[in-house]
């Protein structure tokens, strides 16, 4: 995968799942009629015996994936992030409660999903999955990182939720990137402020940092690809260094990355924070970049918010 080639994280999911299927015969895929959108279909075309269509029945998909996992299979179950929520109680009571080895992927997360509108734009999924004991919660920032995650999850024994996206972004990681679950990735060194970001907002935050530099503000930009278990050490360290903490997510500011960071800091190093994200409002139909502008998630908005925040302190 070339650097700077624009690809959505869901593309990384589909590509990696197929490659994984070739080398690991225990991997199976369960689908709820969205394999063409989630890109799980690539696996299905090559391994039809190991691809299980469950129809538009997300609860059944999760239940079946769980049943497969107890026989030693390694199931990857995917649908839109929002529709995975329909099966949340199945995830809670079968997968998480029993610590089962089921890899759930929620695609088309965030308002970046665009034209489908608010019914499809999951902005609460991180909040609910984070609240489940035993659940690992991941969000890749580019297709390459997503590929690495898919492979890492095959070696990880336990429940996981990975959040991927519809929109194409440049690949910012190099081919030799080593994904380390649970470790935050410092993408940009700074001094005055730290922006903890995840997913698409990593890109927006990097661009914002460039805008901020012209204003004399040097920002750390950190890729929090593992929202649970979160890298507490790094968060505390950078909070101490900057005393200006900002979070950025394509998710409600309630319950997601911002809340996770606040939980860590409030008990270890309380400091005033700014949470950038959906301000407890639903999205709407529109082009992804238009929506980001309108709802304050684009690089320009982030830069403005950070500037305001830093000046106030």
């Amino acid at each position: 995968m070339e650097q700077n080639q624009k690809l959505a994280t869901r593309e990384g999911y589909g590509k990696a799942l197929l490659e994984l299927g070739r080398i690991n015969k225990n991997v199976v895929v369960v689908d709820a009629d969205l394999g063409d959108s989630t890109k799980a279909e690539h696996f299905g075309k090559e391994f039809p015996d190991r691809f299980f269509a469950m129809g538009i029945a997300e609860q059944d998909m999760i239940g079946a994936a769980a049943g497969m996992s107890v026989t030693g299979k390694i199931p990857y179950a995917s649908t839109f992030a929002i529709f995975s929520e329909r099966a949340f109680e199945f995830v809670r009571n079968i997968v998480a409660r029993n610590n089962l080895n089921v890899k759930i992927t929620g695609s088309h997360a965030g308002i970046t999903t665009g034209e489908d509108g608010k019914s499809a734009q999951a902005i609460e999924d991180i909040a609910i999955y984070r609240s489940l004991p035993n659940m690992v919660v991941l969000q890749p920032s580019d297709a390459l990182e997503c590929e690495k995650m898919v492979f890492a999850l095959a070696d990880y024994n336990g429940p996981s939720y990975m959040r991927v996206h519809r929109t194409a972004y440049p690949t910012i990681h190099r081919p030799d990137y080593k994904f380390e679950m649970g470790k935050g990735e410092v993408l940009r060194e700074g001094k005055d402020v730290v922006i903890f970001a995840s997913g698409t907002m990593v890109h927006e935050s990097l661009k914002a940092a460039t805008i901020l530099k012209a204003e004399g503000i040097e920002s750390y930009v950190v890729n929090i690809h593992t929202i649970k278990p979160i890298d507490q050490k790094l968060i505390i360290e950078l909070a101490k260094k900057t005393n200006n903490v900002v979070t950025a997510e394509d998710h409600n500011i309630i319950g997601g990355l911002g809340s996770a960071v606040a939980e860590v800091l409030s008990e270890n190093y309380p400091c005033i924070m700014k949470r950038i994200g959906m301000q407890d409002k639903f999205g709407e139909s529109g082009k992804p970049d238009e929506l980001y502008r309108k709802y304050g998630l684009d690089s320009q908005s982030i830069a403005e918010e950070v500037l305001k925040f830093v000046k106030k302190r």
Partner: protein, 281 residues
Amino acid sequence: MPKKDFVLGLKQKAKEFRKEIIEAVYKAQSGHPGGSLSEIDVLTALYFHKLKIDPSNPNWEGRDRFVLSKGHASPGLYVVLADKGYFPKSELEGFRKINRMLQGHPELSTPGVDFAGGSLGQGISFAVGIALALRLDKKISKVYVMIGDGESQEGSVWEASMAAAFHKLDNLVGILDKNQVQETGKTKDVMDIGNVVLKWQAFGWNVIEINGHDMNEVVEALDKASKNKNGKPTMIISNTIKGKGVSFMELNYKFHGKAPNEEEYKKAMEDIEKIDVNKFK
């Protein structure tokens, strides 16, 4: 007709199990007696006649699996597993107690438990997943799943039923413990599930209908279902009576999830003791 003595043996076991169910729920002062009493004859036949299992090797990969989807009726499962030797009978008096093995609803950590129930409507999906995986690995073992009639109000039961037929899972056998009563009343008064024979036939399953307290019928149905190879899953509609065997619990929704007090306990044990296994059905 199955061998007379053998069936008599199962009936006697089921009678003993009824006592143990009442005992466990009484000691815990908590639990679900009604649904445990209605299912126990089928569970006895499953574990002492049908299932290919090995209590000394609970995780044996070649075993048949049993999914108790109506997980609240755990006492029924626990007394059977204890008698099979998965764990000591002394665990039964610790049912629902803190730091003890036998949790209110079954957990995978308990030897012999293949499904962690408690939330209705999930078992058939889980069983479908197992059945798909077993077939993928060309294993000959089967999956049995028991659901309740109240439970059949959950839409997810029908998602899974559709999937089981679509995926031609003839290594899957369902049992509907149709005990006619749920938590807040008779199922036909709360949310009538209608004609379940027609429903499951329409969903593409083979359907066998029996009196779930007639051990001969239970054994015959399980044998027939387990031999099926026609590319369809089988649903055994087991017509039962909630609380069967205890006069004041029969068809009484109050004992869906309530333990007997001391007086009720004594009466219940007397009722069960009086059961004539030759006439019981």
